[in-house]
Each structure stands twice: as structure tokens, then as C-alpha cells.
Symmetry: C2
Subunit: 284 residues, 2 copies
Amino acid sequence: MVKVLNSSQELIQVRNGEQKAIGFVPTMGNLHAGHISLLEEALKHNDVVYFSIFVNPKQFGPNEDFNKYPRTLQVDINLIEQCLNSYTNKKVIIFAPIDAKEIFPTNTNQLVSVAGLSTMLEGALRPGHFDGVATVVLRLFELVRPQTAYFGLKDYQQFLVIQQMVVDLKLPIKIIGMPIIRESNGLALSSRNQYLSAEEREVSLILSRTLSKIGQIIDHKKSNVEKAQSEITHVLKDSRWNYLEIRDAGTLSSDLTHSTKITLLAVFQLGTTRLLDNMQLEIQ
Amino acid sequence: MVKVLNSSQELIQVRNGEQKAIGFVPTMGNLHAGHISLLEEALKHNDVVYFSIFVNPKQFGPNEDFNKYPRTLQVDINLIEQCLNSYTNKKVIIFAPIDAKEIFPTNTNQLVSVAGLSTMLEGALRPGHFDGVATVVLRLFELVRPQTAYFGLKDYQQFLVIQQMVVDLKLPIKIIGMPIIRESNGLALSSRNQYLSAEEREVSLILSRTLSKIGQIIDHKKSNVEKAQSEITHVLKDSRWNYLEIRDAGTLSSDLTHSTKITLLAVFQLGTTRLLDNMQLEIQ
């Protein structure tokens, strides 16, 4: 078959059709239903899904839980296989480098840094964290070359950092953010939840409940934000909050003058365990 | 199917397998058996062949034959279709932009320049020519994203320039050089041969015959190069030669001290028509 094309636009379209749709889900393993929801979305929309399991040393601070972070590779593989049973004709490639040298061959300190977004909020409390995230994700993107990559919105600031990196570096990759998966009591799923004692687990519900409450106060109206702010001032008297903020959902700016979509971002800390949660709201 | 990989090397291999083998033959059209030999080689080794037909303004000097250059798109398409008849299940995408803006949207003067190789020999006589070639080829590579690209060795210096560009820019593309196709009388096929009168056509055989003769004098022995040089000095008394040189086949350096492969490069001019030819020889 011979096909004649005269425009670059057509050419790019035809060329893109020559390859399988490759989806990518980068994770640090220890999978829960949140990760599996990313995998399912990727399987629905791609021929092949690359799924990486790599506890990235570059995104942990010196006093953080890199060594303690749960590594459960065989269980993770079983979960993925189970999920794949519902998707015949699809293929999952699990990339689980044992040696960090597979990702960072020369252990260079050169980092990708997304200005602005990386240094506020979570980035202010964990200096270098988002540089580590952006660096490993870029490296994985280079290896996997996906058309589409899937991230959980549980790490909302991370999602924005990745999205900005893709724009800044003009990467030909579509970034999809998938909704937070929660336990029935409202607790957002996280590998770090298993650090919690039974008692802490109970207390942790303050986090999602507070977000819901702030969301209800705002009730999609910009005029209610002030009321929400005073509620937040009240809430933050409890020192277990690392932060609880209302920000623009796109820029994370605290100036909401022109915002039509906002995000509540919070970290609630129990012992050494920092629990993240967030919620997006359209306002007018 | 789930596949678990632990090394980046494996990952890259598997990932490369997810896409069809894309071969690319960039041409300026007005096809002859030389071009078709590139197409055949590409069809043998790829699932899909992209074949571009574009008379690139950037590689013509102000007093050169850009306007006169033969454009025979419909005949070219027929030739390609004919060739494809012998390759069932293969596909050819002909990219024949009518408007140069499809390739150079902003008509920027920014050029790719391959230092050294681009300014000697053909590049010295046609200033900017190889910058124009490298620029259009890079642009086409970006659009087509082939794994393999095919070039005729008739333009030997061009082949080296492209090869060097691919190394310099670390492009993930394999460059294949295919042997010169000749008429039975020895004349190397070229679209520009049709500019020749019947009489010039006869005279043009001096070019290939001289190269053969020089090659025979060298006879694969470095010690014979000096003898070949004096023959060349004799030959060059005929002012119709633009140049006739013995160079290292990899670097085009005239210092052959460490050469194990050399190239004879020549341009013989008849009227305004410059005829290129070359020959590679291993020596010891």
C-alpha cells in the first residue's frame, strides 16, 4: 500500500499510528487500590502498559524513611497479574530495577528542577524532594517513552510538578491524573498508612473529614473562601497539621483573585508519619 | 501477559520491540534506479518505509539549479508503486510536501552545521550546501522518527556529514549507505545526468573511467598512492575537473598515514553540469 501525504500534520498523525499505544504507571511499589486504579485506566487506553516499581533514593531526605519504605515486589507482581486477568490481549511490562544504577548509572547529582512549584508547601518541608521526583520520572520517561503516563492525584503537587516538567521540556507525553482512592472511612490510600497504629488510624480521619468540612464551607463560592480561612486558622491550632492551605489548583498560588478551580492541600502528621490529602473544587 | 524486567538494557530492547520497524529514504524525487535500490533495501528490512520527495531549497546556492531541478512526482509515485508490488504486506508512506513551509514553518535561518566535513571539497565549492542538507535531513528525521535511514553513496561526503550529525546529536537512527548504481557504461546515475547533451554524455565517461584507473594504480596498496597522485596531477591538467582527490574514507583527511580505507572523490564538470563520483578502497 502506498499512501501520499503532503502535509507535516498528516505525516505526524500517520507516524504516530505506526506504534502501539504505550501507557506508563511509575510507582514505588507496595501497591494498593490507588495504584491499581492507575493500572486499570492505563490498560483501558493502551496496548501495552509499562509499570515501574522503584523506590527512588533521590526523592527521600537524609532523615526520611527510604530504608523503611515497604518493598513487596512479589505481592505487587501478583496484584498486577490479577488485575490483568480482566484485560485479555493486553500486556504489562513491569520494570523493577534492583540496582539504582539501572536508573542513575553514573550517580550524577544533576537534577531536573521545576522552578516555583517545587519549593513551596511539600517542597518547602522536604527540600529537594520534587527535584528527586522530577529527575526519576524524566529518566523513566526516557527509558519507557510512553505516549501517556498516569499519576495519582493523592500527590497533587507532584502531579503539577510532573505536568510542568512535561511542558517545560516539551516531552511528547500526555499526563493523566487519577482521583484519590479512599478507604470507606475516608482515609486516602497510601503505602505509609501501614506505619500507623490502630489508634493513629482512628485519629487520621481528622484529615479527610477536615478537608470535607472546608470544602462544604466554600461550597463552590469564592465569597465563602474567607469564612473557610477562619475555620482553617481555628483548625491549625492543632500542631499535628504540617499545613492546610487553599491554593489555586493550577499554579498553587495563594492569590485566588482569578481562580476558577482551587485545591485544598493538607498534611497531617501522626508520630513520624506524614499523611497527605487534598481536594479540588471549582469556584465562582 | 506480565513480563518482569530488572535491567534498563532489557527494558530498552523490549520497548524497541513495541514499534514497527520504520525505514526512511529521503530524496529530492526524479527517481532513478539508485533511489529504487534504497527503497528496496528499506522494504527488505522494515515494516513501513517512509519515502520523502522534497526539493530542499536550503541546499541550493543562489546561482544553482533549484528552479530547474526536475520535478516528476506522478512518475515517481508510479515507480514506487511498481517496486512495492514485489513486497506484499509492506507499506510505503510517500511524504511529498508541496509547500516548503511544511518542512520549515518559520523559514528560520537556523542551520545544522557539521563542522569540518561540511566545508571541504564539495562544501568548499558549494558554501552552505551541507548545512542545507543536514538541516533538512534533521527536520525530516524529527518528523519521520525512523529507526533506519538509507542514503546513496553517490553523495559520499553527504553520507559522512549525515553520519556525523547523527553521532553529534546522539540521534537513535542507524544510517545505511548503499552502493552507487551505474549505467552499463559506468556513468553513476544522477538526476542531473539528464542535463547532459548526447555528446556530453559520451565525454562524461571520463569520470568513472578515471576513477577506475586510479583505483587500479593503487591496487589496495598504500605504497602505490604516490604513483596515483602523479597520475592525478596529470589528469587534472584537464580543467573540466573541479577536483579529484584521494582522502581517508572516514575523515576525508588528505593525511593517509593511518588510513586503512580511502576514498577517491571527484567532480567533473560539463557546461554547467557538475557530475559527482567516488570510489572506496581498502588499502594496506
